[in-house]
């Protein structure tokens, strides 16, 4: 008795439906938790999915919440497509945020035209640097990158904490937070008196460029080939190591930009909660988006809605705000399971 997997690719029209089915199934599963707190599920879903889109202010807040997710989601997507299992977007984000703070603190009296590119380049480089060792170990020594990238997340968090408790501790308040970055290093607002900032545009540009590179260039084709089967790619004459290295480094750099965007666009100083798990959520974004740049973009916006919605559910119905996190984690696992349907037909058989 057991499950039998038959190779049988799903029809093309079915594939975009998989994330939608996963979302429906996830909400069905998590309804039990809503019932547990004696809240009306329909009301809860209204606050989760409709309320965040019902006013101009909350729509802007959704875009603000989505900005780092667009970047980490894009970072994870790029790495996974290229066959590099980068679990370290969290650490790369922190590296980018640290570099942005270091640069931003020095930008007093410098023109924004110079300061902003410096912040972006510095953050990208820091993210790349943070993934460099796992990437080299994978390429040169064939050491699995999952654990190395994961462990460096903890190291990055400790590094940020060391800076905030040491040289960057606020001299006035003694809080573990860095001094504020120079005004010229702050990302300009897209809409006056809102929190939406340049980082959102940056994220959209990254997604568009990534789509172009992956689907319209020879390099993208080579990358996808390596991601599907390094052996076959090598046989076809592709430089597998070089391609993997580029996938990893670019992915780390994009994750670093998420850190830049949070420092320069939202917080204006470094705190140890600067990420709030956005690096890990990037893995959810990439999976839900089916490892496709546009898919990742939609997934990030959707998760921005859920994030914003979980706060309104909590305010209106007294449902603990963590329900949003439960939904996202469930969504990841359900989507992962349902993606099997893309490649296999699953049947229950009596005799294995």
């Amino acid at each position: 008795m057991g499950l039998k997997f038959e190779r049988n690719p799903a029809p093309v029209w079915f594939r975009p439906l998989i994330p939608l089915l996963a979302i429906v199934l996830t909400f069905a599963i998590t309804t039990t938790l809503v019932l547990l707190v004696n809240a009306n599920p329909l009301q809860a879903y209204y606050y989760f999915l409709v309320e965040p889109l019902s006013s101009r202010v909350s729509v802007i807040e959704v875009l603000v919440k989505s900005t780092p997710l667009l970047l980490t989601g894009a970072a994870v997507t790029f790495a996974f497509v290229g066959g590099f299992w980068n679990i370290g977007a969290e650490g790369q984000l922190l590296a980018g945020a640290t570099a942005a703070t270091a640069i931003g603190l020095q930008m007093d009296g410098v023109s924004p035209l110079l300061a902003l590119p410096l912040m972006i380049i510095g953050g990208f480089a820091a993210g790349m640097a943070w993934v460099l060792i796992p990437a080299l170990m994978r390429v040169k020594l064939a050491i699995d990158e999952v654990v190395t990238t994961l462990l460096l997340n903890s190291v990055a968090l400790l590094g940020v904490s060391a800076l905030l408790n040491g040289p960057w501790r606020d001299p006035v308040s003694q809080w573990p937070q860095s001094p504020e970055i120079a005004a010229s290093a702050m990302f300009p607002k897209l809409i006056p008196r809102s929190r939406l900032h340049l980082g959102f545009i940056l994220a959209i540009i990254i997604i568009v460029v990534m789509w172009f590179v992956l689907s319209r260039t020879a390099f993208g084709l080579r990358m996808r080939a390596v991601g599907m089967s390094p052996h076959a790619a090598r046989f076809a004459g592709i430089k597998v190591e070089q391609t993997l290295l580029i996938s990893a480094l670019v992915s780390g750099g994009i994750a670093g930009l998420a850190g830049v965007s949070e420092v320069a666009g939202i917080h204006f100083h470094l705190i140890d909660a600067i990420s709030g798990g956005n690096g890990y959520t990037g893995i959810i974004v990439a999976t839900l988006g089916g490892l496709n740049p546009w898919g990742a973009g939609l997934a990030a916006l959707f998760i921005g809605v859920i994030d914003t919605g979980s706060q309104s559910v909590s305010r209106a119905l007294g449902v603990p705000v963590y329900l949003g996190d439960v939904i996202l984690a469930t969504l990841l696992l359900v989507t992962l399971a349902m993606l099997l349907l893309q490649r296999y037909r699953i049947r229950w058989v009596r005799q294995p």
């Binding site: 050491i143 999952v146 654990v147 462990l151 060391a162 439960v326 984690a329 696992l333 992962l336 294995p352």
Partner: protein, 315 residues
């Protein structure tokens, strides 16, 4: 006088080392058993967190209801929560053969979110952290000098070093089940051909491992703290992931690694309270950095279990 002071310091340091190492021993042995069956369980961080929460919540409720064995009820509930997560991880990675690292991270995210949700649900949003009367420390050597205070420890610490490690070693290397487990982790096709039930063995390895991880988490809330807070695990699960590699997938070496890290951790805590201004984060980052360095040095000779990260499907 100086001599006495340094003896007190050393004795206190050794006692603290054993205490800090306890949850790491549980987690590391649990992860070793799981990985030897060919499954990397990145759910460990979340499973330890869930164990800490469920253990604490069950114990607090039982204590409020006036039950005498409330701590044991808590420990039992924590173990069950670990088993449930093992079942879910098994469903995803063994039955469905999904990507192990994404599944494991998903389990960590899910278990963490469920615990925080549950904590709000059970205890509300009070500003005072709820607490329980925790497990008492045992004093097998009474007031004897040196060994008396060193072995003034919680029961679960004795269990970790005297039961979990030797039994884990015995299970892996001296039983048929252990042989099956390792062969499933090395070469599932061959194991299957030899009549070993790959799926059942992997489920069992996940179950044993997750029960240990959850107990390790519960040690923190039921014994050493008597409370639950969002920062209770604080990356200890990831430390275990590092220790497993550092220990080259062996429970006894895993225990030594846990002691080493426990010692460093206890030392930095003591130096901090004595007023030494040292960047303690550097010391805390050591297990990660040492593990990565060890991997880099061993290079292509790292003895991963053969079927590490590979799902098994009967074609």
């Amino acid at each position: 006088m100086n001599d006495l002071l340094s003896t007190t310091f050393l004795v206190g340091l050794i006692a603290a080392t054993l205490r800090v190492a306890t949850p790491l021993v549980f987690g590391t042995v649990g992860e070793v058993i799981t990985e030897r069956a060919g499954i990397l369980n990145l759910g460990i961080e979340g499973i330890m967190f869930l164990g800490a929460f469920v253990g604490f919540a069950a114990a607090a409720k039982a204590e409020a209801a006036g039950m005498a064995g409330y701590l044991w009820i808590g420990l039992g509930a924590a173990t069950v929560s670990g088993l449930l997560m093992a079942l879910l991880m098994g469903l995803l990675t063994v039955t469905l053969g999904l990507n192990q690292h994404v599944s494991g991270l998903g389990i960590t995210l899910l278990a963490t979110a469920l615990s925080l949700f549950g904590f709000r649900l059970v205890f509300g949003e009070s500003s005072v952290l709820p607490s329980i009367d925790p497990f008492p420390q045992l004093t097998p050597f009474g007031d004897a000098p040196v060994i008396g205070p060193i072995f003034t420890q919680y029961l679960l610490t004795f269990v970790a070093f005297l039961v979990v490690v030797p039994v884990g070693w015995w299970l892996l290397y001296r039983t048929n089940f252990g042989l099956n487990l390792r062969s499933v982790g090395e070469n599932p096709e061959a194991a299957d051909a030899a009549g070993i039930n790959v799926f059942r063995t992997r489920y069992l390895a996940l179950a044993i491992g997750a029960a240990l991880m959850a107990s390790g988490g519960a040690f923190l809330s039921l014994a050493s703290l008597g409370a639950f807070s969002p920062g209770i695990i604080a990356g200890r699960g990831w430390v275990c992931i590092a220790l497993v590699i550092f220990a080259r997938w062996d429970p006894v070496r895993g225990m030594l690694g846990a002691l080493l890290f426990g010692g460093v951790f206890a030392l930095q805590l003591r130096l901090q309270t004595l007023g030494f201004a040292l960047p303690y984060e550097v010391l805390l980052a050591l297990p990660y950095l040492v593990t990565i360095a060890a991997l880099a040095i061993a290079g292509r000779n790292v003895a991963y279990p053969g079927a590490y990260l590979k799902p098994y499907r009967r074609e």
